[in-house]
Amino acid sequence: MTDQAYNFAYLDEQTKRMIRRALLKAVAIPGYQVPFASREMPMPYGWGTGGVQVTAACLTPDDVLKVIDQGADDTTNAVSIRKFFQRTAGVEVTQSTALASVIQTRHRIPETALSAGQILVYQVPIPEPLRFLEPRETETRKMHELEEYGLMHVKLYEDIARHGQIATSYAYPVKVEGRYVMDPSPIPKFDNPKLSGSAALQLFGAGREQRIYALPPFTDVVSLDFDDHPFTPTKANHDCDLCGASASYLDEVIIDDQGSRMFVCSDTDFCETRREMGHVGRLGTPSNKGAQA
């Protein structure tokens, strides 16, 4: 049921036009942070108001929306955002990556390869990759303008000096089309390769920091590294205990008072789809739906 007290997808048309203009600019300059006038949303900033505003500006009544948080559709954050758009836009929702036309995400890229026509919207807490070493906004803007990115490697240098390897495992910095250095939001670096050459349109929204940036389909995205410390997209060295997947990103879960652990796909839709297809992991049982199908 659409709540008639609100405009379609909550934001008024003028605000959506303003956000769409920022999105168009962002798509035209891949990896470049476009300022936009972020609006108050009926949820706290930590809940991804940047992503919510981008999603609101992209949604049409025909869209099918999926919302994930750390790969899962059923966390509080994902459920509230999904409900929010069901109520304010009346759009169809889904948990299936393949069936969704718009996917809003926090901290993950779905395992299932995205296809042309899909839009992936990222919630971004801190859009500025240079912030860590250079707190002055005027200076970081100048550094982007002049492609002065030596500092990004100073950060990676510090990592190796301190930990013997590049220890950055989330929000791992990338260079877009050989030009802008970009923070891919706190996705695990395991997901970085999926940023590059994706058939989907990828949009990034930072609400508190009022920035939007984008990767149009088939954009070249390279993770920064050193010649002698090349980028490696690591994950836990296990198979999924439920579906047996060997190449999906895993969460470690404690399953009893003795501290026994299991590894499961962080992408719940991916895991369930595999189980429905009959794949079974070390601790898994064949899926009911799978048995019926």
Binding site: L146, G150, L151, Y157, E158, A161, D228
Partner: protein, 264 residues
Amino acid sequence: MTLISTIAADRPLLHVDNLTKSYGGRVGCADVGFDLWPGEVLGIVGESGSGKSTLLSCLAGHMAPDQGTVVFETASGPRDVLSLSEPERRRLARTDWAYVHQNPRDGLRMGVSAGGNVGERLMAVGARHYGQIREKASDWLGRVEIDTGRIDDRPSAFSGGMQQRLQIARNLVTGPRLVFMDEPTGGLDVSVQARLLDLLRGLVRQMGLSVIIVTHDLAVVRLLADRLMVMKSGRVVEQGLTDQVLDDPQHAYTQLLVSSVLQV
């Protein structure tokens, strides 16, 4: 080709003419002109407020002068520094030029290890091999007499003298063609100053550095500078070979300076 390179060798590294900068109605520096030749160390002395830092900032492009000319001999010929675009000037600042601040905190990244501080300029010009960057940083720590075992410590854990030596290493690691220094020994204990001076003199000689150094301290210029410029109220009152100016000062103000009557 031969002709051009002969001419290039005959040109100063830095040519400065009629450089003037005022702050509202107050004179910062006025009508300053000089040539700096490759491999030369030019000392700038004068009492507090005489315009030394203003001049250095204008030369290094940190501040825009009201009038004047600054021509720098780049590897590909002379360039009017004041008409460079900002990207060009910033590129020059991280390649051909180096700037040593009086306060090491202004010239170091306090949140980054000593090795990262030295390596930054290398990475800024494209170095992408961690092992080589680290080796070079370690070598430079040694050259400025910092125990290479401290390579992963942050400068905040260093003494003032060590911080200043680290700042020097960070600046010299890419072999700059022109080094600006503003009171590099200021704010340090006398014994620490002496050691730093000694080190600087060694580096200047080994590397054949071209340096413009601003200081209150006549002992610093006597030890380091080939030539000397004496400033008063924003103007150059006397310039010449260091020994000549110090041993036989012509201007009354220089005579006062040298006889230490003036507290500089």
